[in-house]
């Protein structure tokens, strides 16, 4: 799962957002927010509007989190999976971490080419009578079209940075990102073609059953316009509740420039 260690996650989050960590021990984390993070997290728009109007610098707040449930009665904000604060942070990450262009950190001694990859992390939602999600992390090499799944796990093992390393240059993609994206979607769709869709069959069955009950309910009244409207509305409600659908939504993605060696290793593995 994504969050084995909430404490480290938060430390990383605030560090990545340039906030100073003022205390960090045994499940207690104190952070001095930057003005930007204060505006995002502390929900005091009037203060910031006022400060800006007057041209003052503003004083960002400090905040203490308790991640160790045994210490939840101590001063500070108990934060846990499910707490509104954590989900507020998740929400900020949706936009903060959506698009990227990243380079592998290497230290070559001579001019070295970096190979472009398109990485797309997507969430597939299956909605019918019930709902579930699945995350697919797919990378496509934009020169030879090689595709691999679970690419995030591989990238996790590399060191990556936002600027191009010295002595490196990037190879221009032969496959445009947009075409690459379409290939990835095609891949997901063929994956879905072969998927067990008994959940959708069951949803359709329920939908039809409830429709029949409804039609029977209004059987003797279907001359009346008023009842007709009622029935139409109920039919819509049944469709909304049961009609199976699948959505593919991109969580985040971007272009990754990796060394030839790493690229070969990735495709070789596949």
């Amino acid at each position: 799962m994504g969050l084995e260690n909430l404490h480290d996650f938060l430390t990383d989050y605030f560090t990545a957002n340039q906030c100073d960590i003022t205390e960090n021990n045994n499940g207690k984390l104190s952070v001095q927010l930057t003005a930007e993070m204060d505006e995002i997290l502390m929900n005091r728009p009037f203060y910031w509007q006022y400060v800006k109007t007057l041209g003052y610098p503003g004083e960002p707040m400090g905040i203490t989190f308790i991640t160790n449930p045994d210490r939840r009665d101590e001063e500070g904000e108990w934060i846990h999976f499910g707490s509104p604060r954590l989900h507020q942070i998740f929400n900020t990450l949706i936009s903060q971490g959506k698009f990227t262009k990243i380079y592998q950190q290497i230290a070559p001694t001579q001019r070295t080419a970096l190979v472009p990859w398109l990485v797309i992390n997507s969430k597939i939602s299956y909605t019918g009578k019930h709902k579930k999600d699945e995350i697919k992390s797919i990378g496509l090499q934009l020169i030879n079209g090689a595709m691999i799944t679970h690419i995030m796990d591989e990238l996790d093992a590399m060191t990556l940075q936002s600027s191009i390393p010295d002595f490196c240059y990037t190879i221009t993609p032969l496959i445009r990102p947009k075409s690459g994206y379409l290939r990835i979607i095609q891949y997901i769709e063929s994956y879905l073609q072969n998927y067990d869709h008994s959940w959708a069959e069951e949803s359709w069955r329920y939908l039809e059953e409830e429709q029949k009950l409804l039609e029977h309910f209004y059987k003797n009244t279907n001359e009346d316009d008023e009842y007709k409207n009622q029935m139409t509305q109920e039919l819509v409600a049944i469709e909304n509740r049961f009609k199976p659908q699948i959505s593919i939504e991109v969580v985040n993605g971007g272009i990754f420039y990796l060394s030839q060696k790493s690229s070969n290793k990735l495709t070789g593995k596949n």
């Binding site: 449930p69 499910g82 990227t100 262009k101 009578k129 059987k219 993605g253």
Partner: protein
């Protein structure tokens, strides 16, 4: 297989634009964390509840978790939650709503509850479930994506009504849904015409009088599940008892209803100790009481029974009412007697019951709730307690919501005693207190049940002590002995009394008893009539207990 497929059309265009224009990109750290938070918030299974994992601060009971799961998995989000009082229907409903919100299936919800409970629902949803619910008052927010709590009376009133009926709700909840049982009412029609995906109806009494009640409730959730009106009456008739006797009907109902009973939950409910405290009037009080009974019989009017009741509560309550009576410009044959009685009351010592209150409370630090029927007695008691160094706060139904919450807090943190009048009995939970004095008994057993329910409910950790005050040789003795003892109200843990009373066509026990007192010539006559009334109630009670639903969870 026909499955609609929705693709993401925007992402790649945005990425392309950023790449072309050298836009800003997120760092690897933020990118990676964003991916991880998506993983963490993913629900990889169709089945099971993910809500409890996110609410580690709440201890859910097994029957509550089972109920929520059954509603989501088997009833597909449309169900009747009909647990007995005090088992946590609100919690079950909150779990269902939370589950759907987590899974992204509910964004916009309408929660219709009695006006007196709006705040409590909002608090519970936000504190227990982290659901940012809004209570709807003046500022209209109907058309936004949110979770709104309001009363059905507000919602069905113009201009709200038309706006609300245009909204498409993902989730609609109706608390106290038994009020919808009649399909000809405006409330029923209003709820039926709401556009809704998921829908929960909450009631402790799903069938009150007529078998058709349940048909009407189920027809909101799943029209046709019980056939149409003609099928239903042809098949199952009109007899309420068929709900328990007809196996087929029972089975159908179980598909849309969850009903837990206390004994099914396997929880150790704390005990309810009930003690009657008999109190003797002082000789002065007794003679005033007899004088009052005599003269009010001579010039009977419809309030005379009230004056004697009031004298059993406090001098002040009775005195104020008598003064009001005498100040009216009208013919009272024995006005002089009343005037003398007033003087006699002025001379009375402190009330025998008030003494008893001090005796009970004085030597303990435990918190007490005192219920009285009269404002004047409430004020008197507050003053009298203060004279004895006992801190108390008043509580009345007429208090604004904020003041109610504040008084509750004062009571929890500072005062030893809360003195409530009857109207304060509903919609406030005081389970941190486990002692209750019924300073005077209401004549309606339902109201007593509600009073006790304020403290003897889920969350109460200690045994509950209920002290019922009654003065010997007064009307209080009759009511206690003949009504309450006989219907064993104090021993039963939970009441289905309202159902019984409405079946007996007794809408108002209180006025029934008043009539008995007013129209009887002698004490003996009062006793016989009260006795008859209680016999009827307790007979209906025994019948009802036998035929209540058994094992409604069989289906799951």
């Amino acid at each position: 297989m026909n499955i609609q497929l929705n693709r993401d059309q925007e992402f790649i265009d945005e990425l392309d634009t950023k790449l072309e224009n050298e836009g800003s990109f997120s760092s690897w750290d933020l990118f990676r964390m964003s991916y991880r938070s998506a993983l963490a918030t993913t629900n990889p299974d169709f089945k099971g509840l993910s809500a409890p994992k996110r609410l580690p601060h709440v201890n859910f009971l097994q029957h509550q978790l089972d109920c929520a799961q059954q509603v989501v998995e088997e009833m597909n989000g449309r169900g009747l939650l009909a647990d007995e009082v005090g088992l946590g229907k609100t919690i079950e409903a909150g779990l269902v709503l939370k589950e759907y919100m987590i899974r992204g299936l509910v964004k916009k919800a309408l929660i219709l509850v009695p006006a007196s409970l709006v705040n409590q629902w909002v608090n519970e949803l936000s504190q227990k479930f982290y659901i940012p619910a809004i209570s709807q008052r003046r500022r209209p927010v109907w058309d936004q994506q949110n979770i709104v709590v309001t009363s059905i009376d507000t919602a069905k009133r113009p201009p709200h009504r038309d706006i609300i009926l245009k909204q498409e709700y993902d989730f609609v909840l109706i608390d106290e849904a038994h009020k919808l049982k009649n399909h000809k009412t405006k409330n029923y029609e209003f709820v039926r015409s709401l556009k809704k995906k998921y829908c929960l109806l909450l009631t402790a009494t799903p069938v009150q009088n007529k078998l058709i009640d349940i048909f009407n409730l189920v027809s909101i959730l799943k029209p046709g599940h019980l056939g149409n009106y003609e099928d239903f009456t042809d098949l199952f008739g009109k007899d309420r008892k068929n709900l328990f006797n007809d196996a087929h009907l029972k089975q159908l109902i179980q598909k849309v209803m969850v009903r837990n009973r206390r004994e099914d939950t396997g929880i150790d409910w704390t005990k309810r100790n009930v003690e009657t405290i008999w109190i003797d009037f002082t000789p002065e009080e007794q003679s005033a009481y007899q004088e009052l009974s005599r003269i009010s019989k001579e010039s009977p009017n419809f309030s005379s029974i009230t004056y004697t009741r009031e004298l059993c509560s406090s001098r002040e309550a009775c005195y104020l009412s008598l003064r009001k009576l005498l100040s009216q410009d009208r013919e009272i044959s024995n006005r002089a007697d009343y005037d003398n009685l007033m003087k006699q009351i002025e001379q009375l010592p402190h009330h025998a019951k008030a003494h008893k209150v001090i005796e009970l409370i004085e030597n303990t630090d435990e918190k007490f709730i005192i219920f009285t029927e009269y404002r004047a007695s409430q004020l008197y008691l507050q003053w009298y307690l203060q004279q004895h160094g006992i801190s108390s706060v008043p509580f009345r139904g007429g208090f604004k919501r904020g003041k109610k919450d504040w008084m509750r807090q004062l009571f929890e943190n500072h005062a030893q005693v809360l003195i409530a009048t009857e109207a304060g009995g509903e919609g406030i939970n005081l389970q941190f207190c486990n002692n209750m004095i019924n300073y005077d008994l209401p004549w309606n057993p339902m109201r007593l049940e509600q009073r006790i329910g304020r403290i003897h409910r889920f969350g109460q950790e200690s045994d509950v002590n209920i002290y019922n005050f009654a003065i010997r040789d007064t009307m209080e003795e009759h009511v206690l002995n003949l009504l309450y003892e006989k219907i064993k109200l104090f021993e039963r843990v939970v009441g289905n009394l309202d159902a019984i009373l409405s079946e007996l066509d007794i809408n108002d026990v209180e006025s029934e008893i008043e009539t008995i007192f007013n129209e009887s010539k002698t004490d003996g006559e009062v006793k016989i009539k009260l006795d008859n009334l209680s016999s009827v109630i307790s007979f209906a009670q025994d019948n009802q207990t036998e035929e209540d639903f058994n094992g409604t969870r069989e289906s799951s």
